[in-house]
Every structure is written in C-alpha cells, then in structure tokens.
C-alpha cells in the first residue's frame, strides 16, 4: 500500500473510533446533568443514586473520548502536513478555540464534579456537571466549524499557495456548519438517550431496583423520542444543503448516475462504479426531489453530468467518491434513524398504557438497540467524509496532495497497526468495565471519596 492509502486508513480508524465515544459523551453528559438537576430540585435519594450511577459509566466513556481525541489533533500535523500547511490559517483557529473554550471547561469541571461530592455547595456542584455538558457539546461545535470548512470552504482567499482567511464571520457562521452541528449534536442526544434507556431496561428486566430504573428509563425515553424526531428533520435540512453545495456527494448517496426530474429515491441498487451503472434498482418516485428540495418537481443532477461539469471546471480526473460505500452508509443510517424514532415512540405508548416494566420484548430490544446509534453515527460520518472524496477540501485540495511527504509507508503502517491494536484492547476493557459497574445497579451511598482513582 502507498503512504496515502495507509494514512487514510489511519485517519478513518482513529476518527471513527473517537466518534464512538464523543457522541456518547455529549449525550450522557447532558443526561447526567438532567438527573443531577432532578436530584437538586427534589432532593430525592433515587435521583442522587442514579446521578452517581450514570456518572460512573459516563466517566469511563469520557476517558476514552479524551485520550483518542489527542491523537486526532496531532495527526493533522504528523500524517497530513501538506494539508496542515494549506489550511492552517483557517482550520487552526477553531481547533485552538476548541481547546481553549471547550477542553479546559470539560476537563476542569469533570474533576470538580467527580471529586466535589460533599465538598462543594450544592448549587456549584450542579453547575459543574452542566459546564461539562456544555463544554463537551461546545467542542462539537468548534470541530464542526473546522470540518464544515473542508466541506464547503468559505471566507478565504488563495494566497502564497494556501488558503488564507478573508472573512472570519463567514467561516464561523458557515451554513454547512449550522446544518451539521444541529444534526450531530442531536444525534449525540439520541446516542446518550438510548444508552441510558438500554441500561435501565436491562436492570428492569433483571428485576433489579425496578422503581429507581423506571425513573431513568422514562427520562431517557422522552429525551430520546424528541431527539430522534429532530435528527430526522435536521437530517432533511442537511440533505437540502448538500444537494446545493456538494451535488456529487448527494448523487453518490443516491447512486444516481443520470440526472432526473423529478428524481426518485433509490431503495436498493447493485452499484457498479467501474461501468457507471446500477442494476436491480428499486425506486420510490418523486421522493428524492422531496428529500433534496422539499417538493415533487425539482431536478437532481446525476454523477455522469457532474463528472463532466467537474472536468470542465477542475481539469481531467476522476471526481467520483466511492459510490457503493456512500450509498449504503447513507441508506443504513437513515434506516437506523427511522428505527430509533419508532422504537422511542413505541416506548412512550407502553408508558402511557403503564406497561413499560412488563413488556419483556421491549426491554430486551432496548438492551440491543442501545448499541446501534454508535453504528448510525459512524455511518453518518462516513457519508460526510467519503462522500467528499477525492477532495480533502472540497474544490480546493485533493486528498492525495495533503499527506506528509517525509513520512514513510513503513512508519505510517507501524503506527496504524499499533493504534488499531491498542484501540481494540481499550474498547474491550471499557466494555468489560461498563458491564461490571452497570450490573450491580445503583451503589450504596458513601461519604468517602466516591470517585477516587
């Protein structure tokens, strides 16, 4: 394999892995803060115990999010130095601000919260977990400002062979960022919500502290149902934006070779990228026009026309992303999103009928579905990043031009293999620990340092 290919695998592996933990952290931080708020307002022992219980699980996940995040910041310079030189003027700003505004907030106040039980005034202690929740979601905002610029570059001029900042406000308020950040943060809420629901369901199923976990299950249900619906609406907004600014990505998401008007939504297709055809297609008429333009009449451009346009604009080359991966990732993500909506609403109905605790099948399903948002998140990320290929900065820099010129394939391969192995082991340890700490249910309260290392 070439250096480029290995570097791309490394980036893909380390980013997707990090992205298992960060949305879960973002969602769970908010949910833990909500539980803590319930405790603060009601002074009920149940909410206190729940706060500590989910706080403990949250910490294990938080730790892995932190350590895998440092790798990403270093990786731009280590493996993608030419990219860094080209974009640093703009891309570096949100990264630096992310550290200054979000990481300091998270890392300081997570410690204040953990070690602050029985030590701080109650209001300040509650505030500290909310600051963690705000910090972790703020970090998503800044990193998405950076990523949005790679998707739809704005506010720059090309100067001295690099992109230089010309309009800071345009970069900060990039419309691409606005659609991405809503979709991503709310998807993180679904991730956290289904996690809490799954753990609570597991305990209820095992008849362990049913009354306590009935409460957390209900909070999680409401939180998840609202979030899951909003993920769909923000996703729709996102698609409407993508078709305008990255039409090739949209066409690849749909496996759409020829321009259509009105365009139909593909449900299934066997895609043959080499010959640029698809077979055994099953399509829903008009639905792609609805997805892309929110009406039943608009035209959606196909990849063949777009390829010609791009060649005229950027010169000869292959401007198609890996269509099959993008097409199926998108389908699976949307399917999972729909599943989450149905599942959460069904849970609300069971609650309404007062049958939440009795419905064995539902509880069992909840313990499985809790893992699926991790898959859906990763797929969304894959659509966003692989759908942008062959560009690293859309229209400005090709991925192959971004890689470090002085790192050898051997070095790149070594680090990729070691990171993958270490990450694999860490994931296994984390799952084991979460299982172990989740199993006994809420702890007895103690006045000692509850979260002592």
């Amino acid at each position: 394999m070439e250096v480029l290919e290995i570097a791309r695998w490394q980036f893909g592996i380390t980013t997707v892995y990090h992205f298992f933990f960060s949305p879960l952290t973002m969602g769970l931080a908010v949910l833990t803060a909500i539980l803590h708020t319930f405790y603060y307002r009601t002074n009920s022992e149940h909410y206190k115990l729940l706060t500590k219980y989910f706080g403990k699980l949250f910490i294990i996940i938080f730790a892995l999010g932190v350590v895998t995040g440092i790798v990403l910041e270093f990786q731009f310079g280590m493996a993608w130095s030419n990219y860094s030189r080209f974009v640093g003027d703009i891309f570096g700003i949100p990264l630096a601000i992310e550290a200054l505004l979000a990481f300091f907030l998270e890392s300081t106040f997570i410690a204040v919260w953990l070690f602050g039980w029985n030590r701080l005034p109650k209001g300040i202690h509650l505030l500290s977990i909310w600051l963690v929740a705000i910090g972790s979601n703020l970090s998503a905002l800044w990193i998405l400002i950076a990523n949005a610029w790679m998707q739809v570059p704005v506010g720059y001029t090309l100067n001295n062979g690099r992109a230089e900042l010309s309009d800071f406000i345009a970069v900060m308020l990039n419309e691409q960022m606005l659609v991405m950040v809503q979709h991503t943060i709310i998807a993180a809420f679904v991730t956290g919500g289904l996690f809490m629901l799954g753990i609570s369901a597991w305990q209820i199923m095992r008849k362990n502290q049913v009354e306590i976990f009935g409460k957390s299950a209900r909070i999680a249900l409401v939180f998840t149902a609202v979030s899951a619906l909003l993920v769909a609406t923000t996703g729709h907004k996102h698609a409407q934006h993508t078709v305008k600014h990255q039409p090739m990505k949209m066409a690849a998401m749909e496996g759409l070779w020829e321009t259509e008007q009105p365009a139909s939504f593909s449900m299934f297709a066997l895609i043959d990228q080499e010959n640029r055809t698809s077979s055994r297609e099953f399509k829903l008429p008009y639905m792609l026009s609805v997805l892309a333009y929110n009406n039943t009449t608009s035209e959606v451009k196909g990849m063949n026309d777009l390829q010609k346009e791009y060649e005229a604009k950027y010169g000869p080359g292959d401007y198609l992303p890996p269509v099959k991966v993008v097409y199926w990732s998108f389908r699976l993500m949307v399917g999972l999103g729909m599943l989450f909506i149905v599942f959460a609403i069904y849970g609300l109905i069971l609650w309404w009928r007062d049958k939440l605790e009795e419905s064995k099948t539902y509880l069992k399903l909840a313990t499985i579905i809790m893992f699926l948002p991790l898959v859906a998140n990763s797929l969304g990320w894959i659509v966003a990043e692989m759908g942008r290929q062959p560009w690293v900065v859309y229209g400005l820099m090709l991925t192959r031009d971004g890689v470090s010129p002085n790192v050898t394939a051997g070095e790149m391969a070594l680090t990729t293999v070691v990171f993958t192995l270490v990450y694999g082991i860490l994931a296994a340890v984390a799952v084991y620990l979460i299982h172990r700490f989740a199993k006994p249910g809420v702890p007895e309260d103690s006045e000692k340092m509850l979260h002592a290392y």
């Binding site: 730790a63 310079g77 990264l95 630096a96 204040v112 470090s404 700490f437 002592a452």
Partner: protein, 337 residues
C-alpha cells in the same frame, strides 16, 4: 511588536504552562511505584493529581492548536518531522490516562500492576521525549528548502538530545516530589521530602553539564559571550532558592521555585530561538522563522482577541479548582475495598 511576536510569546507561555503543570504530574507518575509502600499509598499518590492531570494536559492540546493556527508551517514541520517520537508520546499519554482511570476500578493485583506500569512509563516517556524534542530544535534540524525535515530517527536520538531528555525527566521528578510533599500526610510526605532533597545535587550537576555542553551544541548561545544573560541567571538562582527552602522545610516555596526554574529554563530556549522557531542545520536560508511560518495577520489578530478574553477566564477557573482541592489527602480518604 507585531502579531507574530505576540503569538510566539503566547505559544511559549502555553508550553511553559504545560511543562510546569504537567511537569509535576509526570513527576508524581514516575515516583508512584517507588515512593509507595502499599496499594493504599499508591492510590493516595494518584489521587493527589486526580483532579488536575487531565486539565494540565489540555495545556498541551491548546499549545498544539495554537501552533496550528498561528504558525501552520511550524506545526506541520515539527509534527511530521518528529513522527515516531510523537507517536510514542501519544501512545504513552493514552496508556497513562487509562491507567489513572481504570487501575483502581478492579481489585486484582495483576490488573493494578499492569496499569501502574502504564502510569509509570506513560509519565516517563513523554517527559523524556519533550526533552529530546526541544533539545533537537535548539540543536538545529536538517530542514530542507521545502520546510520539511529530511533526517531520520537516529538523528533525533543523538547523545546530546538524550541528555536533554534525562534533564527534563529529573527536574520533573523533583517537581513531582515537592508536589507530593505538599499534598500528602503520614509517611508519604516525609519520603517525598527526602527524595527531593536527595535528588537536588545530582540534578544540579547533570543540568549544569547539559547547559555547558549547550555552548557547543545549540544555537542558543550564538552571539552570546561568556556571561549567559538574565534568563539563565534567574534559572540558576531559582534552582538554588529551591534548595534553600527545602532545607528550611518550606516546601511550598521550594515547589514554587522549581516551577520558576522550569519557566526560566524554557524561557532560555524560546528567547534563544527567536525569531527562529525551527533552525535548519543545512542552510540558514531554510530556517523556519516566526515570519515565514506564520498565518496571515487577520488570523493572528482574531486569535489574539479570543486569547485576550478567554485565557484569563480559563486561568481563573483552573486556579479555583486547585484552591478547591488544596487539602492534603490522607490514607483514610481512600475507600476501603
């Protein structure tokens, strides 16, 4: 004063803050296996830095982000040039962090021993590598006309740089021992004090050797005569002050003066480099300077405004967290299993 200069100073401050803060928690991590008599001791030691180590590490992340934004070429050359050392550092930092988080979650001795190893090596390796990396920078690196590092790993691990790594590790250990003497009670406090006192002389000797060899090995003293200037003088004075206060059993001041030694020592490095950020050993024309490596003025200006507003806020709440957790940790504070 131009924006390039301001940002050079700010990045220097971020690195210095990182070395002072993470310096003592690296030192604590390195000392943990040696200073503890049993598992409770080890837990006390880890909990002394429990509320701090993560936020201390954010100083590095911020320094990295600021370097990326303000001097993209510096960031790109440094990080791609030190590819393998930084990879090792990342690995060490990952294992160290999970060491802290996971070690006491299970009671089995084999489990704890494994994570104790992670904490020890995860503290030692980054401290050592920072010494190696900065020594390399002041030695000058084979940087070509395209701003890329052209050397190999052997070049980075030269004997003088190795010595630089040792010096940084030793100073961090002293810093960590003094921190422990402030945050512990019982036998730990006394052991930490005697380790610090025992280490002072060897550290002074080795650091002096490193500094003197620096006259021939680095770009720092080019143009200087025999009198070293203010920063080195202050570094030496504060290191001596540390010794005096240790002998007077005023550990708080001793700790403060090690911090000042680190500050002054790093100031020697940054002051000596300016206006270069990475001197080239191939050709002076290839030096990376604050001017040819920097971002546009607009970027630097915006970043300055952001820093002006938020750095004081961060300092205030981080300082507050140190105040909240300033009490000593006793063996009784550790939950029994």
């Amino acid at each position: 004063m131009d924006f390039q200069m301001i940002w050079f100073i700010l990045i220097a401050i971020l690195f210095i803050g990182y070395f002072i803060l993470e310096g003592f928690d690296f030192g604590v991590g390195i000392l943990m296996p040696f200073i503890s008599k049993d598992d409770t001791d080890r837990r006390v030691v880890i909990n002394t830095i429990g509320p701090f180590w993560d936020a201390n590490e954010v100083w590095l992340i911020t320094a990295g982000g600021a370097m990326f934004a303000a001097f993209p070429h510096w960031y790109a050359t440094l990080f791609s040039g030190f590819y393998i050392p930084l990879f090792l550092m990342l690995l060490a930092l990952i294992l160290r962090a999970v060491g802290f988080e996971f070690r006491s979650k299970m009671p089995q001795p084999w489990w704890r021993k494994t994570f104790d190893q992670f904490i020890f090596w995860g503290s030692l390796i980054p401290a050592f590598l920072w010494g190696v990396a900065f020594t390399n920078i002041v030695q000058g690196l084979p940087i070509g006309a395209d701003m890329n590092f052209t050397g190999n790993l052997l070049h980075i691990l030269n004997p003088y740089a190795f010595l630089g790594g040792v010096v940084v590790v030793l100073i961090f250990v002293l810093h960590g021992a003094l921190f422990l003497s402030l945050r512990t009670t019982d036998g730990l406090k006394e052991r930490a004090e005697s380790i610090a006192e025992f280490l002072w002389v060897p550290i002074a000797v080795i650091t002096a050797l490193f500094a003197i060899l620096g006259y021939w090995n680095t770009v720092l003293f080019e143009g200087l005569g025999l009198v070293p200037g203010s920063f080195p003088t202050l570094a030496i004075l504060s290191f001596i002050a540390c010794f005096v206060f240790m002998k007077l059993k005023m550990q708080g001041y001793a700790f403060g003066f090690v911090a000042l030694t680190i500050l002054m020592g790093a100031a020697v490095v940054f002051y000596g480099l300016f206006p270069n950020v990475m001197p080239s050993s191939i050709n002076e024309a290839y030096h990376l300077t604050v001017y040819n490596a920097s971002s546009s003025d607009l970027t630097l200006k915006i970043m300055s405004i952001v820093a002006l507003f938020f750095v004081p806020i961060v300092l205030a709440y981080q300082g507050w967290s140190y105040y909240v957790f300033s009490k000593r940790i006793s063996r009784d504070a550790i939950p029994r299993e």
